[in-house]
Amino acid sequence: MSILIKLSTTLRDMVPGYEPETGLSVSLKDGESSITAGELASRIGIPLEEIKIVMINSRQSELASVVADGDRVAYFPAVGGG
């Protein structure tokens, strides 16, 4: 099992080799049972201040929210349109 990470706009440039179609799969470390969305972002090299919106399994979440194995996590900077 692993966690699927999806990134948007400028956040993509912060993770070398990021593939928009497939996203990024990250496995928890041995012995690690959970991680927060914020810790996960730091682990892949995204500064937390760049993140405005976090969704875990398509639900609005926080950086402090807990991510479990098999989850899908999406990070967005401040974006808007209309």
């Binding site: 948007s8 706009t9 919106i53 609005q60 349109g81």
Partner: protein, 580 residues
């Protein structure tokens, strides 16, 4: 210096008149809606002689405020049969304001089959036989530019407007004289067509910025407003880099991207039609393409990039998110180039991309166009300009198309199609769709901000809590912003940076010598909505019309499997200041 221009299409009289007392201090939407409410009989036939078409720049038009040159278009809508305010960028708003023309009121009708164009300059206005009848917007403007020159701005209708199709738009030229900014919604182009008015030519020569009661005060406030816009990540950078198309991926992720006529909230090929991809292709192809392009003078947000084809030639403006969505996921199409072609065709023929794009997906649901068949859509789109039966049907928009093809799911409120947010997964905007006097319209109260974008607070998009209040406050604020002449996208900064609203109020006070406070802005917004709702009531549109089609309350939508579960009684508390 300030006046109205009243144009009678039957007698051809064009008269500058003093501004009546009761309209003093109004601009933009406040002015168009008030004029329509006072002067148009609410039960008139929208495409008949008793309807009027009103154009008005906003209160901060022709000033150095950033993003304040929008234009408001008002009339009774042939699509919703209620009051309509449709708002556009482009150059004409600023030009009219500079000439001191605070409103153009077009009345009555020319003899059927006659086409006229209105020439406006500093001290004169006259109707002359049109030299561009029968042409679509791009050819019409090219010819008008040959005739009147590059310094004028142009307002035109395409063939859809000439055919009086109920999704016809009115085009306004941008800074490069491209007729690709539109008052899109509600069939305002059909009203212009019904009057026999093909084009308006505005020569700004001799026009000037409006006098300011307190010049220094204005300058300081305008600087503060500009600072708020440039320092906010959305208005300062995001919109310029990715356009509104940035929303494709985020709405997909949130499960609110309506797919295949609102049967699912996610589209498997979202990445192919995303803002990220549009940005990348625009940069790779280069040529005439452009990232960060403003549609009117004074815009510092610059959301309207230019999309190049494979050879780097101009293909279209960057389609808005709504356009990408309705010709894309909603119609099961994932070809970005093709969608850009459709966007350009809408601009050229002169139709609302939303009502026509949604009609395309609805025709697919009813078997009128094969699902996802881009070629068939192309033929149908050409048919709008040619006047084929299918072209006329989709050119009349979603409600007509749904009826013709016997479709169960017709996503409309008050005859106007829903934009690109599933109301079951973004409930706040669902409240706006159901209740705004305009018919389904996201811009009327853009609750996507707090529901999805964490802008102006956070409200859980799947829950009912707080949504009515959110929609109410946004509808009020939007009515005010539309009256000031500001592009609605300034709202992202206004919602998050308290000084932005204070700066707007200070600019108004410095321009007019008023003593407004933030509360007065709220009162203005409420007053506009009350006026519009009152018009609708007199037109026979009651509170009973404030609901969504029942498939939204019947059918849960994946991935969240939620329904739109507000009762009519709950929705009717939205405008809680209006006495029943």
């Amino acid at each position: 210096m300030f006046r109205f221009l009243r144009v009678n299409m039957a007698t051809k009289s064009c008269v500058f008149e003093d501004i009546p007392e009761e309209y003093a201090g109004l601009g933009g939407r406040a002015l168009t809606s008030t004029i329509v409410a006072r002067e148009v009989n609410p039960i008139c036939t929208p495409l008949g002689p008793h309807n009027k078409l009103v154009f008005a720049p906003g209160l901060l038009g022709a000033t150095n405020s950033p993003n304040s040159n929008r234009i408001s278009v008002g009339c009774k809508s042939p699509l919703t049969e209620g009051i309509k305010e449709s708002n556009s960028g482009g150059q004409p708003g600023g030009h009219l304001a500079k000439l001191g023309i605070l409103a153009i009121i077009v009345e009555d009708m020319a003899t059927e089959g006659e086409w006229w164009q209105l020439e406006i300059s500093k001290d004169s206005a006259k109707l002359v036989p049109s030299t561009v009848a029968g042409l679509n917007n791009f050819d019409a403007v090219a010819k008008l530019v040959e005739q009147y020159g590059k310094d004028c701005s142009y307002v035109t209708i395409g063939r859809a407007g000439e055919f009086k199709l109920t999704a016809a738009s009115i085009a306004f030229t941008d800074r490069e004289l491209r007729p690709q900014r539109h008052a899109g919604r509600g069939g305002v182009g059909a009203v212009m067509g019904s009057k026999g008015l093909k084009a308006i030519i505005i020569n700004p020569e001799g026009g000037k910025n409006h006098p300011l009661v307190d010049e220094e005060g204005f300058k300081a406030a305008s600087k503060r407003f500009a600072k708020a816009l440039t320092s906010h990540p959305i208005t300062g950078k995001g919109l310029a880099e990715y356009g509104t198309a940035v929303l494709v991926n985020i709405l997909h992720e949130a499960g609110g991207l309506p797919t295949r006529n609102f049967t699912c909230g996610q589209f498997e090929h979202h990445e192919a039609v995303s803002g990220e991809r549009m940005n990348k292709l625009t940069k790779e192809r280069g040529g005439e393409g452009a990232v960060a392009h403003g549609c009117m003078s004074g815009c510092i947000i610059r959301c309207s990039g230019i999309f190049p084809d494979e050879k780097g030639k101009f293909k279209s403006k960057w389609p808005e998110y709504e356009t990408l969505w309705c010709f894309g996921p909603h119609s099961n199409i994932d070809d970005l180039d093709l969608i850009c072609t459709f966007d350009h065709m809408c601009d050229d023929i002169g139709v609302d991309t939303i009502d026509v794009g949604v009609a395309v997906g609805v025709a697919m649901a009813g078997g009128g166009i094969p699902l996802g068949d881009g070629k068939a859509v192309m033929e149908a789109m050409k048919g709008i300009s040619e006047g084929t039966p299918l072209g006329r049907i989709i050119g009349c928009g979603t409600a007509t198309t749904g009826r013709v093809f016997g479709v169960r799911r017709v996503p409309c409120v008050k005859g106007q199609s829903l934009p690109a947010y599933d109301p079951r997964a973004v409930k706040g905007v669902g409240v706006t769709y159901a209740t705004t006097p305009m018919g389904a319209d996201h811009t009327a109260g853009y609750a996507v901000t707090a529901n999805i974008l964490s802008c102006g607070g956070k409200v859980d998009p799947l829950k009912k809590d707080g949504q009515i209040e959110l929609s109410r406050n946004l509808q009020i604020a939007t009515a005010s912003v539309d009256s000031v002449g500001l592009c609605l996208f300034t709202a992202f900064a206004i919602l998050d940076i308290p000084d932005a609203l204070a700066a707007i109020v200070d600019m108004l006070n410095a321009k007019f010598g008023w003593k407004l406070t933030g509360d007065d802005v709220v009162t203005l917004g409420q007053r506009i909505l009350s006026t519009e709702i009152d018009f609708n009531r007199r037109a026979g549109i009651t509170e009973a019309a404030d609901h969504l089609p029942d498939f939204f309350t019947d059918e849960p939508v994946a991935p969240h499997n939620t329904t739109f579960d507000f009762t009519p009684e709950e929705l009717q508390t939205t405008f809680n200041w209006i006495k029943k």
